[in-house]
């Protein structure tokens, strides 16, 4: 993440300091719970955990818990659970996308093969549910299982749309909702439920924090899909333009195509047909999106979601934690990777 703005907002470092100790507990919990009776799974889990990632989802769980009273043991477990579910979806996604790299390293399927990774993903899902089940809280399980199913359906929808140029903004938003925003929302809700003061998180409070995180999640994914075009391989940890190469038409391109000439549409169609940039160079696609204001419009759109998130969090009384959640929204939209 880049640094936050000057003024009242917190920097990335300051946010991180707020959750640092708890995040270490989460990491230990993930390590502890990722030991399978089959070595391959333990190895893959560890590989995924060591691969870094921003831990945004566990951080959301922690911040939400803190906001409603404090981090409990259940908060730590739930933060581990959401990260494990996230890891499970990544393993299966990489199998499906035939990804070669993730976060600057070979993807797990590139090392262990698709077959092992299908099962390792299954295992991670089940292990996450096992840990969640220990809370003996049906509401938590309702949230997690509905969420996972929603994400799987999102992946399936995406698969059906691979290679298609006729993707509407609504189609795209549905995927972003299912693939990213729902998980963000669940993180904040679970964090609220797990706060130390039992019953402190009313249903209304849980819902409101969920809405905050949902808006944050949409903004996060919009920026992510923009960075897939505008960032650099070293920063992204995978080649630029991967989405389009894999047949995924995302919002910058959807906006650009609305104003594109038939020739420009043809250019985009060529990448979708070929699955590479040999005949339709990436630089030309990039220029096309820029000229047709694709990036400007996506940036505006993301901004409107972060503003909504910020408006929700401003309803809460001022505290370092409340300010951290507000600052998070800016960090998400202004990040460069």
């Amino acid at each position: 993440m880049g640094l936050g703005r000057l003024g009242q907002t917190l920097t990335a470092r300051e946010i991180f300091e707020l959750v640092k100790k708890d995040l270490e507990r989460v990491e230990r919990e993930i390590s502890l719970e990722s030991v399978a009776s089959v070595d391959a799974v333990t190895t893959i889990s560890r590989y995924l955990q060591d691969g870094g990632g921003k831990r945004l989802r566990p951080i959301l769980v922690l911040l939400a818990s803190q906001l409603v009273g404090g981090v409990s043991d259940g908060t730590i477990r739930m933060a581990a659970v959401v990260e494990m579910i996230h890891a499970a979806t990544l393993v299966h996604d990489d199998v499906i996308d035939i990804a070669k790299t993730r976060r600057g390293r070979p993807s797990s399927n590139a090392i262990w093969g698709n077959h092992t990774c299908v099962l390792a993903g299954d295992w991670l899902y089940m292990q996450a549910f096992q840990v969640a089940l220990r809370e003996r809280n049906f509401h938590v399980l309702d949230v997690l299982i509905a969420l996972t199913q929603m994400m799987v359906e999102g992946e399936l929808l995406q698969l059906e749309r691979i290679g298609k140029i006729e993707i509407s903004e609504a189609d795209y938003m549905e995927l972003v909702d299912r693939k990213t925003a729902s998980l963000f929302s669940a993180c904040a809700r679970l964090g609220a439920v797990m706060g130390t003061i039992p019953g402190a998180a009313s249903e209304a409070l849980e819902t409101r924090l969920g809405e905050f995180a949902w808006n944050l999640g949409i903004a996060f994914q919009l920026v992510d899909d923009m960075l897939d075009f505008t960032s650099h391989e070293k920063v992204l940890g995978k080649p630029v333009g991967s989405d389009l190469r894999e047949g995924k038409v995302t919002l910058p391109l959807i906006y650009a195509l609305e104003e594109a000439t038939p020739e420009e549409r043809l250019l985009v169609g060529t990448v979708l047909t070929d699955g590479n940039y040999d005949r339709a160079p990436f630089a030309e696609i990039l220029r096309l999106i820029q000229q047709r204001h694709g990036f400007d419009r996506v940036r505006e759109r993301a901004q409107s979601f972060t503003e909504r998130a910020r408006a929700i969090i401003s309803e809460f009384p001022d505290s370092p934690n409340q300010r951290a959640m507000s600052a998070l929204t800016e960090l998400v939209t202004e990040r460069d990777h």
Copy 2:
């Protein structure tokens, strides 16, 4: 299934008549719960459901419930849940085995592709858990999630052993336990828990019925692995000798290899290396197993498990239901597909 023996034991038809009406309710429940918001999943689920199969697992749930008092609405749902979990494992297994046919039809991955099937399997798991979650019974969820994880670990172990000739009987039994017997056991236990009279199924009763089904499951898989060699493609719904072709050394071969000459070991090794019977004809492998008493010994072994299952069920008071469960053990060992 073949017909049962003469005498007190029930025939397959008679067992089926006992559960027929309830089984129809289970089928309706599965249809109802397999409708996804993504068409591909609904289609795949329906394809799997229509593909037949013996419905042994739901039948076990129903019989166990009946034995402890009667079939409840929860029994029907749980019978649907175990069949959906079974279907989910089959979809992922077929992806992993790169299977082309199952039950005499193209396998789901052959029609819809591996990618969709990975996600369809995920969806079926989640949907099964959703339905189970509605029971608001933590014990049920404990059983189901531990079971699913156990099965996934079994598949992973199997994957690690693919193509290896040095498989011990203990290695093999571990896989059979994880892949088949655990699910059978869970079916009987869940059936016991779901019986109409609340609390009728004590922990001891649940455990005992679980042990019955566990032994039945082992016998079932032993016979299954024998039939993979001795049956016919039309009856099996897939080519004979598939296991060995896929690199899986099962018990008939493990026993035969114990007494095999170096030349015979080489013959088996050739199939494992080649992944086909071009250089080491299937007929020769078959003769080898026969000559080395592989089938005789597996048949005896299966028999000892069915006897244990029958001994357990004989502890229960005589009733049509109790006799059906006893007869089931014979049908399983004497079936020809």
